[in-house]
Symmetry: D2
Subunit: 149 residues, 4 copies
């Protein structure tokens, strides 16, 4: 379908967003966010994304024994964040594979991009820790999220 | 200089290595290493690398007000690690820039590659959090480490 | 003042409460909350308490150079919490000293007490890390919170 | 047995000790150790104590399904520790109950006591998360450690 002039890419992305305040314990003696703490926060944001998709992790992991480990992660830290900063995490579902999921994260404070990440998550069988195809119900929910987040 | 046949690349890399046992608190309810905990461990390994280079972070940060934040990080998680695994962290100093440092990390258990990472670290002025050139003494020590780790 | 029959102590305590969902990264390979993660969460709850009191930590720490380290902590872990549990943190300001603050924490899920803690926080001068009296404005705000939380 | 004059209590305690360097990521924006990070370190020290006793946690937890959660913890933080400090953790096995263990922790830097903790650990069945008596082999090893650490 032709896109109208002035079409705004941002508006049609399959994006979920949520907010976190950078806590004291997330920061380091140099006064800025400690990057491993950023990833701990990001992991919680991804958990929240899955609640939105309709599959909270506790049921996936404990009942269905499906794991969602990270297989690849590329991050760029553009500007430092300080203790107390309010960060908006925007999660875009960029690609849905047979047993994987590509997420693109953009973390901003106000108009300013602080950091970004591309993350590849793989569905695994928790008894073998090997990758497995998405079950149909989960694939369906992820597909619907991509079309209509 | 010509390299002899059978030359082993590994032997001449500017590599530092150290070992960590994966602790209970580093692992998650799916039974494997929690990836943000991996980065917390990695950061401690990089601190140890700097002690070897001759510039422990406490003096750099507290006295000289030089920060060493991570600007880019690319990681690939090849095989899961379990609680109790003994991991060897090999840190290669791959490139020394005007105000940056490229580290390549390979994390193995026995012969098995578990994960790897490329990390770009930038020297910053901790009062402005802006990048700054390496001071001569630090550049010199990093250069000597590259030649003769 | 005489208290009416049936007076409910709970209702008049100087209590602040907030909620946290126990995340994947807060739990350990045995499937329950990792106790150091509990304290990391608690510290964030105490930060939120201070926002309610009117003195967010970033200004206290960065601008006024007042630290609020923990001097004593007693905790009892009554029942385990699982990944995904919604926990209510109730913070009672139990005592206000010259340079200290006693907080009593009760953490519940539904009607069930999961854990509790008594915490003594001390105001310090961040340049010397020694205790110091509460400044008048902060003491006043804490006193008002005790009377009318 | 009568103890000789000048008997040194320290010398006969059932004590295990190990050392940790306080890392950058263990410290907070006020420049000192973040107390939840202290407990994360402490938990790793207790894991190391169990290796010394002869029962590494991975086998206990994964194979025998015995958990060792903390039921009580009392801590006193006497002096702040700074990034880079070398801390000695001394763990005393103070009491062995039917299904519990009392540990006393003293954490020093040089001659200076930095913090201390009393910790009650309970053996649990990981399928029910309820307390259970120590198995005979573990009780025996703990008893031998108390007599001859």
């Amino acid at each position: 379908m032709a896109r109208p002039a002035g079409w705004c890419a941002e508006a049609v992305l399959s994006t979920f967003s949520t907010q976190r305040t950078l806590r004291f314990g997330d920061c380091d003696p140099s006064g800025i966010a400690y990057f491993p703490a950023y990833f701990d926060i990001l992991n919680g944001v991804v958990e929240e994304f899955w609640i939105r998709v309709g599959f909270p992790w506790p049921a996936l992991i404990n009942t269905r024994r499906i794991g969602l480990p990270t297989a690849r992660l590329e991050s760029e830290f553009v500007k430092p964040s300080m203790f107390g900063d309010i960060l908006v995490f925007a999660v875009e579902l960029a690609h849905l594979g047979q047993s994987s999921l590509h997420l693109v994260h953009r973390i901003t404070a106000g108009e300013e991009l602080r950091w970004s990440a591309k993350q590849v998550v793989v569905a695994t069988d928790l008894d073998t820790h090997r990758s497995r195809p998405w079950p149909e119900d989960i694939r369906g929910a992820l597909g619907r999220f991509m079309e209509n987040p």
